[in-house]
Symmetry: C2
Subunit: 438 residues, 2 copies
């Protein structure tokens, strides 16, 4: 046929990987899933397309500008921009079929038509867990969250990372005690302080009408530091009687106490009063996670406590706490900083059976027997030169080539070539199995 | 807050499951992935959204009517309607970075705005493998395909299923020998013969201008039956010298010969000359798979050989062979026929630690230690009545509740309750581990 060629390309802002990278990506995704499951979270899988009236029930803000929204016939559709709104809809819709506290994980793609820039994606994976209570949810769930983050990043191969925690009731209570009218505005400024710097943040706060004295107090407060115990004790010494402040302090103290029992070492968890997640709907504990060796990546796992998950879809009161990992961005950033460089082979296949001479039948049986023993085995079925056959194993990083020629066929053996060292040895089936099943 | 409530619902034609069903679904998906990987297929993950010019490069047909297509700004976008067109684009785009034969699997959602009817989905998972060669691809790959299907459905728990195979060169060669002008039309009719019946099929063929004699010969041909060897020998006896026919017969014979070596029992594979996959782009071997106990489900895994994967995106010649499982539909149908009824618990969690009295600290440590030993363990953190705590385990199908009261705390023991039998026993940590780690 003589077609016109359409230049093959994908849309900007979409990530697509070559197989070796995809295998690496899937490894991370598998670890995240296994970790979530090990804590008893159950999978759900909501549609990528939802009714626009559902996804935009809350309305307003950045969301509406970035959303992929379109008509199909006369139906107003949108692609989900996070997994939280679909969760809210799911819990409200399936309320009577669920057991509370409802613990679910979801790993899936979400869509945001963001401005196109390096490291920002328009299609990306979110990996979320949430624990949703009916009417009430114990603060102990908030204390378990850091242990899930800790287990996660340990499983992912990190040792030096810091889970920063804070409490928004504490912040709001402090602002109330200072008689600040719009605490939410202050939160938003604090939230971006690491990006904009102290000077600009100060200006912003002053120009919002706060006095120099109040602004100084805010900075003094958010910079309180020391061990977690020390910070709690300093907060206590402030003698602020505001109810929100006291509730926040009590929650923070409970979390710090129990988080140790849940298995998080002191070195991996730190109260940081600058953490506010100002743009989100959180109402209590908040979390952010930083990789100590890669500070430029920013928070790699964050979340918090909210009062009411699904107010737009049900009158049931559903408080919850959850965290999210933006896997596509995390993978991209880790790749950029060279994190995967020293990683072992990303090849799934363990052995490539290569028939030489005219021994296809024996080679096929040999490969089948290895696979039946649980060894991931391929067989090279094309007629090509030996160099091309070995080149296939080499390019894909297959660790062992199993050569089968006339001699091997006659003696019921095979020659195993270690593709890394080049060493080769001729042994029987059991010998091959022993070598490749490492 | 006092919001207006938006009734929570999803779009018609979209599947969404409760967690227990989702766990069952994921089991199938995991088995499919593991089977594909065990044969050396590598994962890729292409974007759900592509440029419309890419997805519609081929143009025409049902596809264009069913596609989800929309503008974002001035960009013309579409949601992928299968995984084959994105594969073609991927291979063309990444040609120089891939190793051939390129063996990839992809499991992902695709979108078709089909007429809304029971068992038809507008968002559904496809699970595809393809082996794509550069310029050439050995027929032995076609012979290995049934062994992958066989391993797959064995792993999924089926014993009685039939992989039906045929060859389109053989069919076209036969039609050419009968001097039929438009063999493709005949193929389309044959393809739907099980749905429309022989009478209507006959009428259709006659009204297309074929003589009664020719139509009789077609039916005689497609009804040739017997063992695979018998069919091959009858086909040989027809003494049709047409080149296509002879090539098809040779391919079919090679596949039948090698498929045995690849490990497919005779009882699971059958030449069926009625299998044509008339609507697809296949050019050689074709496959369909039927579950003997559930004939109403139709083909659960099908595919075939094609001459040129990516002709719309590159001038490279890329022959290939692949199969696809429509997992969403398969799951739905198996659920409908009661396939999962006798299945074991779909609960991932093995043990629920329940603190009684005031032993939260000990309970948390106990749960952590079990989890560290690899037992998927939850802890009930809410303050509730004992019945509610046990009810949680019961509703979710968690097999063991581990009760920790004052006595257990003092003696460093725990009481394990088997939630199925109701039996309970008080033992130390090692004893608990032994009981729940079954």
């Amino acid at each position: 046929m003589n077609n016109e060629i359409v230049k093959p390309s994908i849309l900007p802002g979409f990530m697509e990987l070559l197989p070796a990278d995809q295998i690496q990506f899937n490894k991370l995704s598998d670890i995240i899933r296994e970790t979530y499951e090990s804590f008893g979270f159950m999978p759900i899988d909501t549609p990528v397309i939802e009714k626009s009236e559902i996804l935009l029930a809350k309305g307003g803000g950045e969301t509406e500008k970035q959303i992929y929204r379109f008509l199909k016939g006369t139906t107003d559709l949108s692609l989900r921009f996070d997994l939280t709104v679909p969760l809210a809809r799911y819990v409200a819709q399936n309320f009577s079929g669920l057991t509370f506290p409802f613990k679910r994980y979801q790993i899936g793609k979400v869509y945001r038509g963001e401005r196109n820039q390096k490291g920002r994606f328009r299609e990306f994976y979110q990996c979320d867990i949430d624990i949703v209570g009916h009417n009430e949810l114990s603060i102990l769930n908030d204390a378990q969250i850091p242990s899930i983050i800790y287990t996660m990043f340990s499983n992912l191969g990190f040792k030096d990372f810091t889970i920063k925690i804070n409490n928004r009731k504490l912040l709001h209570g402090f602002f109330e005690a200072l008689e600040i009218k719009d605490g939410a505005d202050v939160l938003r400024t604090i939230d971006k302080i690491d990006k904009i710097g102290v000077l600009i943040a100060t200006e912003e706060l002053l120009s919002s009408g706060l006095t120099k004295e109040v602004v100084d107090k805010i900075f003094e407060f958010i910079n309180i530091s020391g061990s977690n115990q020390k910070i709690l004790s300093l907060l206590n010494d402030l003698n602020i009687s505001n109810e929100n402040f006291q509730n926040g302090l009590s929650e923070l103290s409970t979390v710090v106490k129990y988080v140790k029992l849940f298995g998080v070492p002191d070195t991996n968890i730190k109260i940081d009063l600058k953490i506010s997640r100002g743009l989100d709907y959180y109402t209590g504990m908040v979390y952010e996670t930083f990789l100590d060796d890669y500070p430029s990546i920013g928070s790699v796992c964050s979340g918090g406590r909210y009062d009411n998950l699904a107010e737009y879809y049900t009158k049931q009161k559903l408080p919850g706490v959850g965290i999210s990992i933006g896997l596509t961005r995390l993978f991209y950033q880790l790749n950029e900083v060279g994190f995967f460089k020293n990683d072992a082979s990303t090849c799934i296949t363990k052995a490539l059976v290569i028939p030489l001479d005219d021994n296809m039948d024996y080679a096929i049986s040999f490969a089948k027997n290895l696979r039946d023993m649980g060894v991931i085995t391929e067989i090279y079925l094309e007629e090509s030169k030996m160099t091309k056959k070995l080149g296939y194993a080499n390019k894909l990083g297959i660790p062992f080539a199993i050569l089968i020629g006339d001699t091997e066929y006659q003696n019921k053996t095979a020659t195993v070539k270690n593709m890394l060292t080049g060493l080769q040895t001729t042994v029987d089936f059991d010998g091959v199995y022993e070598i490749v099943n490492v």
